[in-house]
């Protein structure tokens, strides 16, 4: 079980990762020429954060954080050590505490060479803002999380960092704090102590919402939901969702995760329509399939099951998608069984892939599909026969007794799955004509679909990302237009004057 969960995190964190890489790519194109060595990048970033805090310009911090995940892959012990050496003055206390988390320099040969070559150029004299320290701690934390041996150390650092972060209590630290919370959650999870972290997260979430710290709040809510769902405590997860509001300004990555968790909760509660909406939102908000395959696959697994439970059959093209094809093979077979309404095929597929479904946490939901299989079977029969004996239904659907068949058909009629009657004396089912297709329920259905499309449109608009400062150009264009308009007005005025001048002549 834990292994599986971990795998899915990897998928998710890779999703976050990829997401940022995406943005990073955009940025890189601007300053493509030569990739900066990671040490320099860390130093630059620290300087940027310093500037952000001193000039009260949070966008520099955001810029730094966007590069976080790409950078995370490139750092190692020596990079971090050199960066810290370079950033802080020689006998700084902060530097010493930070360096404590890294293994001591190996044979000082290469390092000292590096130190010799760089410091003389610019030896920092003043301490940087605490935000920079937090950023470095975040980097170290991610670095420690990378290898299994240092997980314990990472947890220790995480706890200390959280304590320090809460003691400092600076608003300019909020964006970094959100990232730190994610790393902290990961640290707890790798140390298999997620449930212990829950009180800490709950308290932090309360504080964050009081301070309108949207980013941290979004990150924390997701961490909490994740931990609840991991332990299958769906009722508490549901309570958390109903008692909190997810900050609307949260990033798309956080929104995608939130919708995914929400979809899972709703699916467990048999609220399939909402679950379906949420899972679709999650897919829409998530980065493209190729960059974040893990998340894409995980969401689609649930989406397929939920669609089946709703009585729909998922699109076949879905299973041909490059990213999904392999991951969804088992689900494709289940879909085939449900579509043909064959209980025996369904049972066979279920037992064949039971392990995978259990690993995906979809097993209990797939068991619920049994009744859908029967319903589909009855519907097929009712479409092909105008009259069929209960005995035959029994044989065709592999039911145990005729008595069962009678009850099942009765229930299907009541639930509106088929139109028909049972004639008990003769022991057959008469299938009625299909519905005329007109009536108030049609308009209701149409209304439902239209509102779905409108919602889809609105959500997509909200999910769009705009390049920074693009509106400046537009503003300039608008300015130009206004100028032209003025000129035009002037000309018209002149023209009018001309007219007036001309007037008397006419």
């Amino acid at each position: 079980m834990p292994d599986v969960e971990m795998k899915s995190t990897d998928a998710k964190s890779s999703e976050d990762k990829d997401k940022k890489e995406d943005k990073k790519d955009d940025k890189k194109e601007e300053n493509k020429p030569e990739p900066i060595p990671p040490t320099t990048e860390v130093k630059n970033n620290a300087a940027l954060i310093d500037r952000a805090v001193t000039t009260l310009e949070p966008r520099f911090t955001h810029r730094v954080l966007r590069t976080l995940t790409a950078l995370r892959k490139r750092i190692d012990d020596s990079v971090l050590r050199n960066a810290i050496e370079g950033i802080y003055p020689k006998d700084s206390a902060v530097k010493k505490t930070l360096l404590l988390w890294l293994p001591p320099a190996p044979a000082s040969g290469d390092v000292s060479m590096d130190v010799d070559s760089t410091p003389p150029a610019k030896t920092p004299t003043s301490e940087l803002v605490p935000e920079a320290e937090m950023y470095l701690r975040l980097l170290i934390l991610h670095h420690l999380l990378k290898s299994e041996d240092t997980h314990e150390k990472a947890l220790e650092l995480a706890q200390q960092t959280v304590a320090k972060m809460q003691a400092l209590n600076r608003r300019s630290m909020d964006p970094i704090a959100a990232k730190i919370w994610f790393a902290v959650d990961r640290a707890y999870e790798l140390a298999a102590e997620v449930s212990d972290a829950r009180p800490l997260f709950l308290a932090a979430q309360r504080t964050a919402s009081l301070r309108h710290d949207d980013e941290a709040q979004a990150a924390l809510l997701n961490c909490l939901l994740r931990s609840y769902i991991k332990y299958n405590i769906y009722d508490q997860a549901d309570k958390l969702v109903s008692k909190t509001t997810f900050p609307p300004s949260a990033s798309n990555a956080q929104f995608a995760r939130y919708h995914y968790y929400l979809g899972r909760i709703r699916a467990v509660q048999l609220n399939y329509t909402d679950a379906h909406d949420d899972l679709q939102q999650a897919i829409r908000r998530a980065p493209p399939a190729k960059t974040a395959p893990g998340f894409y696959q995980a969401v689609h697994k649930y989406l397929v099951v939920v669609e089946l439970l709703m009585g729909d059959i998922p699109d076949r093209s879905l299973f041909r998608h490059v990213v999904l094809q392999k991951a969804l093979t088992a689900y494709f077979e289940i879909v085939k069984a449900v579509r043909t309404g064959s209980l025996s095929q369904f049972q066979a597929t279920l037992s064949k892939h039971a392990a995978q479904f259990a690993a995906d946490n979809t097993y209990t939901m797939i068991i619920r599909l049994r009744q859908n299989v029967i319903k589909t079977g009855i519907r097929r029969l009712s479409l092909s026969y105008s009259r069929i004996s209960l005995r035959d239904i029994c044989v065709k659907l592999h039911l145990d007794t005729e008595e069962d068949a009678e009850y099942i058909v009765g229930k299907a009629i009541r639930d509106g799955v088929i139109e028909g009657r049972i004639v008990h004396e003769k022991g057959w089912m008469e299938c009625g004509s299909q519905k005329s297709g007109y009536g108030p329920e049609v308009s209701a259905e149409l209304g439902r679909r239209i509102s779905f499309c409108l919602d889809l449109h609105n959500q997509s608009v909200k999910a769009m990302r705009y390049p920074l400062n693009a509106h400046r150009k537009e503003l300039a264009a608008a300015e130009g237009a206004r100028e032209r308009e003025k000129e035009l007005a002037k000309e018209i005025q002149d023209g009018e004057l001309d007219d007036e001048d001309l007037g008397p002549d006419f």
Partner: protein, 262 residues
Amino acid sequence: MAAQLKTLYDELVRAFSSRPSDLKKCTEILPKLKLGLIEAGVLLPRGDVNLGDLVTAREILEIGAFVSIRSRDVPSFDRYFSQLQTFYTDYSESLPSSKREYPIRGLNLIRLLTQNRIADFHTTLESLDAEVIAENPFIRHPVNLERWLMEGSYSKVWNAREEAPAEEYKFFVDSLMGTIRNEIASCEEAAYESLPLKDAATLLFFENQTDLLKFAQHRDWQVDLTGGAIVFKKKGEEKMEIPKQRLIAASLAYARELEQIV
């Protein structure tokens, strides 16, 4: 734990394990014991508490749950169950597992089923391991019942009522049968035009006709005694009304949305 609590506890165990259990005495002792537990700080345990005390507290609550089922006090069972949750989930690692845990969980599932709280049923089920659901007889029973109910295999539910894995499960049988009869009745209303009385009795699991007639009266069915059949009112072709209000509201909403898009 205080000596007084200990004697009370012993008394409770004696009253409960005597055959048949002395329910009256149990219900007398339980409130006192609960007060004692609160004073000792183990009813809703926090932080580090003596594990032995926790096991005793859990047993007291478990007995309480069983006693409330036997005295048919479902709300009280509900309370005991939510108090037990702490012991079953949060302390599952430190405490030795209780042999009464799964019977009580199963009872809770049945309770949700009889109250037709299917969503809660599934949420609760989700918190159990797949292995337990498939293997444990106490859990498997309600799970099967739910599956049959959802499919419509009502006769299987009827036949399973005697196979309850624990004595207490039978206390829910009556209300479960009531739920099933109502389900079947609503299906019959939709699926049949008329039904001979004899067959209706078998379908609804009635032993004699008087019960059936009472039930039919309750559901407002037309009974044709001479023909020996129940005639169901034909629903359907009611006059359709155009939902003006809703259509107007919908059109206005579309107009507003379109305006936003354009």
